[in-house]
C-alpha cells in the first residue's frame, strides 16, 4: 500500500513536471495566435461595413483594414480574399444564432415528433441575418462554391445545421443523426436560394417555402420509419403496377 502510494506520487510529479515544460511555450503560442486572430477579426468586422458598396472583395478588406487603423495592403492577411470575408460572416451569424436559440423555450420532445416550428424559426432567423447584404449575397454564394472556399463553406454549413439540430432537441446517436443533418442542410441551402429572389413583405414567401420543405422532410421521415414488413404489401403492389405500366399491360388502360 505504502509503496504504491509512493510510486503514485512519483508518477504524478513526473507527469506534472513534463506538462509544465510543454505547457509554457504552448500558452505563449496560444496567446500569440489569439492576438493574431483578434487583429484579423477586427479587420474583418470593419470590412463588413464596406460590403454593400464594394462587395465581398479584396477592396472591402482593404478598406476595412484602413478603418481598423492598418494600411490597405494588410488585406494580404486573408489569402482567400472575399472567401475569407464570407466565411467570417457565416461564422459570426452562426454564433449569434446559437446565442439566440439558447434563450428559446425548450419544447417537450417526443420520440417521433419533429419540432417543426422551432426548426422553421431557426432557419428564418438565420436567413434574415443575411438581409443587410441581400443585394450582394448571390455573389457571396458564388464565392463559396469556388474550390478553395468549399471546405470552409461546408464546415460552416455543418456547424449551422448541427447547432440547429442540437438546440431543437436532437440527441440521436444512430443513423438518424446523419439523415437529419443532411436533410436540414438541403432545406437551408434551398431556402437561401429562394430567399435571394423573395420580394414579398417581411419575407413571408420564404417562410412558407421553409414550412413546406420541413413538411416534406417530415413525410420522408414517416416513410423511413415505417416497418418494412407491415408495408410490404403496399410496396409490392406499387412495384407491380410500375412494372405493368412499363410493359404496357396496365389493366386500367
Amino acid at each position: 500500500m505504502a509503496i504504491n502510494d509512493v510510486t503514485h506520487k512519483v508518477l504524478r510529479s513526473y507527469c506534472q513536471g513534463v506538462r509544465k515544460e510543454v505547457v509554457v511555450p504552448a500558452t505563449f503560442d496560444q496567446e500569440d495566435h489569439q492576438y493574431e486572430e483578434d487583429v484579423k477579426k477586427r479587420i474583418l468586422s470593419k470590412a463588413l461595413e464596406f460590403v454593400t458598396k464594394s462587395g465581398w472583395s479584396v477592396d472591402s478588406l482593404a478598406q476595412g483594414a484602413e478603418a481598423a487603423g492598418y494600411p490597405g495592403v494588410s488585406h494580404g492577411l486573408f489569402p482567400n480574399g472575399g472567401g475569407d470575408l464570407v466565411h467570417y460572416f457565416n461564422v459570426t451569424c452562426n454564433e449569434k444564432l446559437v446565442e439566440e436559440m439558447k434563450s428559446w423555450p425548450k419544447e417537450e420532445l417526443k420520440e417521433s415528433k419533429v419540432p417543426a416550428q422551432q426548426i422553421e424559426n431557426a432557419i428564418m432567423t438565420r436567413l434574415l441575418m443575411i438581409e443587410p447584404y441581400k443585394s450582394t449575397w448571390a455573389k457571396a454564394m458564388a464565392i463559396q462554391t469556388l474550390p478553395n472556399n468549399v471546405p470552409n463553406c461546408l464546415a460552416t454549413l455543418l456547424s449551422l445545421v448541427d447547432d440547429i439540430c442540437y438546440h431543437t432537441g436532437d440527441r440521436s446517436v444512430d443513423f438518424n443523426w446523419y439523415i437529419r443533418r443532411v436533410g436540414l442542410a438541403g432545406i437551408y441551402k434551398a431556402s437561401e436560394l429562394f430567399y435571394l429572389t423573395d420580394n414579398s413583405q417581411s419575407s413571408s414567401a420564404t417562410r412558407s417555402f421553409v414550412k413546406s420543405r420541413i413538411r416534406d422532410a417530415e413525410l420522408i421521415q414517416i416513410a423511413l420509419n415505417m416497418n418494412p414488413v407491415s408495408v410490404a404489401p403496399q410496396t409490392l403492389t406499387a412495384a407491380f403496377v410500375t412494372a405493368k405500366n412499363m410493359l404496357g399491360i396496365n389493366s386500367l388502360k
Binding site: V6, D59, P71, G72, G76
Partner: protein
C-alpha cells in the same frame, strides 16, 4: 521504501548533473562558432564578411548592363511570371507606400505602378501611392532610371518614385514609414540576412507587409537534381557566351544553394518579429514567395 527513495534521489541528482554537463558542452561548442561568425560564404567559398560585401558589389557592377537580358535567358523568361505573381500577391491598394529593396533595375517597381494604373478608378488624389526604389549598388539604380525614363514611368505622376542608394542592413529611413517592403532576388546577396529582416521590420508601419521573392530549394530530390544540372552546367556557360562573364554566374548558382530553404527562412522571418508568416513555392520551389506581417 527507504531503498526506493534513495534510488530515486540518486536518479534525480544524476539527471541534474547530466543536464549541467550538457549545458557546459553547449557553451563550449558555441564559443568557436562566434569566432567563425565573422566569416561568411560567397557562393561556395568562405570569405570574410566585409570581403563578401565588396565581392557582391563587384558582381553587380559587372552584370548591371546585361542583367535583364541574362535573367530572360537563364530563366527562359519565367522570371517575368514570377514577378507578376509576386505583385499579384501584394495587390497594392490606394495609399500604399512601398519600399522596393534591391530593386535597382525597377522590375518590381514598374509592375507595382502598372498594377495601380490598371486599378484605375480607385486611385484618388487623397490617397497617393509612392515607391522608393532602394539598392546598394548605384550602377543598378542607374540602369533602372534609364529604363524608367525610356518606358515613360517618370512621366506617370499618379505614383511618386524615389531612388535611394542604401544598404538594406542599415537603412537611412525613419521607423514605421512604409506599408509594404518587397525584396526580389536580393536578400540572398546580403551578408547579414537577420539584420536585413530587422531593418525591414523597423521601417514598416504596423500592419505593413513584408514580401520576399527568392530562389529556394526544390522539395522533390529528382527535380532538384535536374535543376542542379541545369544551374551548374548551363548557367555559367551562358554567362560566358552572352555576358562574357563566368564568375558572376557561378556565384549566382552557388549562392542559391547556400541560401536557407523555405522552412528555415520562414523561421528567420518569424525571428525578426513578423507574424502570419507563410510561403508559396513557384515552379516546384525554384522560387518561393515569403510573406509576413508586422501586426
Amino acid at each position: 521504501m527507504a531503498l526506493r527513495r534513495s534510488v530515486l534521489t540518486l536518479i534525480s541528482t544524476r539527471k541534474t548533473s547530466l543536464r549541467l554537463s550538457a549545458i557546459k558542452n553547449f557553451s563550449a561548442q558555441s564559443e568557436p562558432q562566434e569566432e567563425e561568425k565573422r566569416k561568411t560564404h560567397f557562393g561556395f567559398e568562405t570569405v570574410n564578411e566585409d570581403e563578401k560585401t565588396k565581392k557582391v558589389h563587384q558582381v553587380f557592377e559587372t552584370v548591371a548592363d546585361k542583367y535583364d537580358l541574362m535573367n530572360d535567358v537563364m530563366s527562359l523568361g519565367v522570371h517575368r511570371v514570377w514577378k507578376d505573381i509576386f505583385m499579384m500577391r501584394l495587390a497594392p491598394t490606394p495609399g500604399t507606400k512601398l519600399l522596393d529593396m534591391a530593386g535597382g533595375t525597377g522590375d518590381i517597381t514598374f509592375r507595382y505602378m502598372n498594377y495601380l494604373k490598371n486599378k484605375g478608378s480607385l486611385l484618388s488624389a487623397d490617397k497617393p501611392c509612392s515607391v522608393t526604389v532602394c539598392d546598394i549598388n548605384q550602377h543598378m539604380l542607374d540602369v533602372g532610371k534609364v529604363r524608367a525614363e525610356r518606358q515613360g514611368y517618370t512621366k506617370d505622376t499618379s505614383v511618386d518614385i524615389d531612388w535611394l542608394c542604401a544598404d538594406a542592413e542599415n537603412l537611412p529611413l525613419p521607423d514605421d514609414s512604409y506599408s509594404a517592403y518587397t525584396i526580389a532576388f536580393g536578400i540572398r546577396n546580403c551578408t547579414h540576412i537577420d539584420k536585413v529582416l530587422e531593418e525591414a521590420y523597423r521601417v514598416l508601419q504596423p500592419g505593413g507587409r513584408f514580401l520576399c521573392l527568392e530562389f529556394s530549394q526544390l522539395p522533390n530530390s529528382t527535380m532538384q537534381w535536374m535543376y542542379d544540372q541545369y544551374s551548374f552546367q548551363m548557367i555559367p556557360v551562358m554567362g560566358q557566351l552572352i555576358a562574357g562573364q563566368w564568375k558572376p554566374y557561378k556565384y549566382l548558382v552557388e549562392s542559391i544553394r547556400q541560401f536557407p530553404d523555405q522552412e528555415k527562412f520562414k523561421a528567420m522571418i518569424e525571428e525578426a518579429g513578423f507574424r502570419q508568416v507563410t510561403y508559396e513555392n513557384l515552379t516546384f520551389g525554384v522560387c518561393a514567395i515569403h510573406s509576413g506581417f508586422k501586426i
